[in-house]
Symmetry: C2
Subunit: 338 residues, 2 copies
């Protein structure tokens, strides 16, 4: 707190504070020699401008916020890494807010960020079907915001996602080609854009491969693992048990593994499985898990890049844009021959 201020620096240099300040901005309005003199002493005294004074005056914080539902999840962790790497390069600071899938919290965070704490926001939604008036407020106020992964489908915003529909299609087609006739689908019942798109891909693939649509095989899961586990258990014990399963979310696939273990079902003999997942250990599971792997790091990086180009341009509201970065299909044993 008792750090050195620009005033003391100026006094030691026999300069005015404004001249010293100009040395730090790259103002043309200063003699290069005196600038050097200032910077030299600043370094010696370990002076840095007070960030809050600077932010107040400049009305810029050099700070961005990430708002997301969860962090103990390899996809989001990697996305954060991508975002942070760009921010670090640009000399920006990164605030992080976790909603834990709580829409009220999400709203509260956003409401707060209105008031100038950050220059921009990166966000992955907790639920795409909630009121989004607060988002529109954000845009009106001129706070740039970029969505990644979990986005609003019907809002003219900047979005970075993976090719969810195509990936859902490809996953389902793969199971069909492996000979599955009754392919189940696990998704989150929350109104998530990505879940819907993946499901749409699944449905299209069923149709294209002449497989009948059975609503019993499409399971809307929730945030509650216990509940999900019982849903999956019910599915796997039903008279017309599926022989293939496409999971939209990693944790649902893992629950399925547990359920199969408990029910003495063999993967892939009794049930072939493929899932969206960024698990590093997918190849090491028993059996190794076939995955649709999202380019999480790249998604984060791209989202951050879009935000920063906007910030550098001084743009207030970003023109709507959809960037898609493709996922990779990693076929492993869980969907393989036996």
């Amino acid at each position: 707190m008792e750090g050195i201020t620009i005033k003391q620096l100026a006094k030691q240099l026999n300069l005015s504070v404004s001249t010293v300040s100009k040395a730090f901005q790259d103002s043309y309005d200063i003699n290069p020699q005196t600038r050097e003199r200032v910077l030299a002493l600043a370094k010696e005294l370990n002076y840095e401008p007070n960030p809050y004074a600077s932010s107040l005056r400049k009305q810029k914080s050099r700070t961005i916020a990430i708002i997301l539902p969860e962090i103990a999840n390899n996809f989001f962790a990697l996305a954060i890494r991508g975002i942070e790497s760009v921010a670090q390069e640009k000399g920006f600071h990164v605030l992080i807010y976790l909603t834990h899938e709580d829409h009220a919290k999400e709203m509260a965070f956003i409401q707060h960020l209105f008031h100038g704490r950050v220059d921009g926001v990166l966000m992955s939604l907790t639920d795409g079907n909630q009121a989004h008036s607060h988002i529109e407020q954000l845009q009106q106020k001129g706070l740039p915001i970029v969505f990644f992964d979990r986005i609003y489908e019907n809002l003219p915003t900047v979005n970075v996602t993976t090719n969810d529909f195509e990936s859902g299609y490809a996953a389902t087609r793969h199971l069909a080609q492996q000979g599955c006739r009754r392919i189940a689908h696990l998704y989150l019942s929350k109104n998530l854009s990505i879940a819907n798109r993946r499901k749409a891909g699944y449905l299209q693939a069923l149709k294209d491969h002449g497989l009948p649509l059975d609503e019993e095989l499409i399971i809307p899961c929730t945030d509650d693992p216990t509940h999900n586990y019982s849903l999956i258990g019910k599915l796997l014990q039903s008279p017309a048990r599926p022989d293939g399963l496409f999971s939209s979310f990693e944790k649902l696939a893992l629950l399925t593994y547990q359920a199969c273990e408990a029910l003495q079902l063999s993967i892939p003999r009794d049930l072939r499985i493929i899932s969206f997942s960024n698990l590093e250990t997918a190849p090491l599971l028993n059996p190794s898990l076939s995955t649709i792997t999202q380019p999480a790091f790249e998604i984060g990086k791209k989202a951050a890049s879009l935000l920063f180009t906007a910030l550098e341009k001084g743009v207030q509201s970003l023109p709507s844009e959809d960037v898609v970065i493709n996922s990779i299909l990693d076929i492993r044993n869980s969907s393989g021959r036996f």
Copy 2:
């Protein structure tokens, strides 16, 4: 940016700015009724005090920083979640800085945080054996800092760790009790306190169980997975191959799984494995991985709590303290009978 200010609020209320300000601090120096009036209009106009102006004036930022080596790692992700939960409860903001095991970055971050951006720091080191003069500077300047997991061993700081020595001991003892005679140990060669303590536990357990110490079985690994993989490969192909392995870090155990797969070695028949790990999928691996599971969330939470109690007390430098939260030994198949 063109947000409403306290001045406009005051004008609308026919009050002075100072009175309005008092309504937001819980100053006794204000009539409860006028306070209500102020708060009501503030809510209506969606006014919040400008955080940077407030921070500048109060010399408090209500912000903390987390500095850590990595995030795409379940331990750190969970720790962050613990920290964030406490911060959210206290109404603090959380800045995040990733060092990627780069000591220079670590220093740079800390240097910057000197200058009043945050009220406190939570930190997990990149390497415990580097110069720590910058840390001492921090403490002198009166910026509270709490270390978790990766700490400086010989600095009088506040540290939150798990019982690394005992856990290393217990893991090794477990392998010995399973009949292993040649127990290898993988650790990170960086000068990490936790690695040293775990290794010390390993050495003590060897001694207590009458097992000879073989330096060939103690492998110092690095940050480079490729290099580590070849080290592990060499170990497993050496004439006197180990029959047990205690890994200090999750990723080293996973590399060992891969190496065993490649070398056609069976776990646990040819090699019993146990590792420090917070992998959610440990039970689902092939075979399921015996782990020492650190209470990551609790460690983060405790570290944050310690920091906040200090902040609330207005303490400048925290009295040195070591808090230990025990890990749990989860015995699974990788170290089991076959």
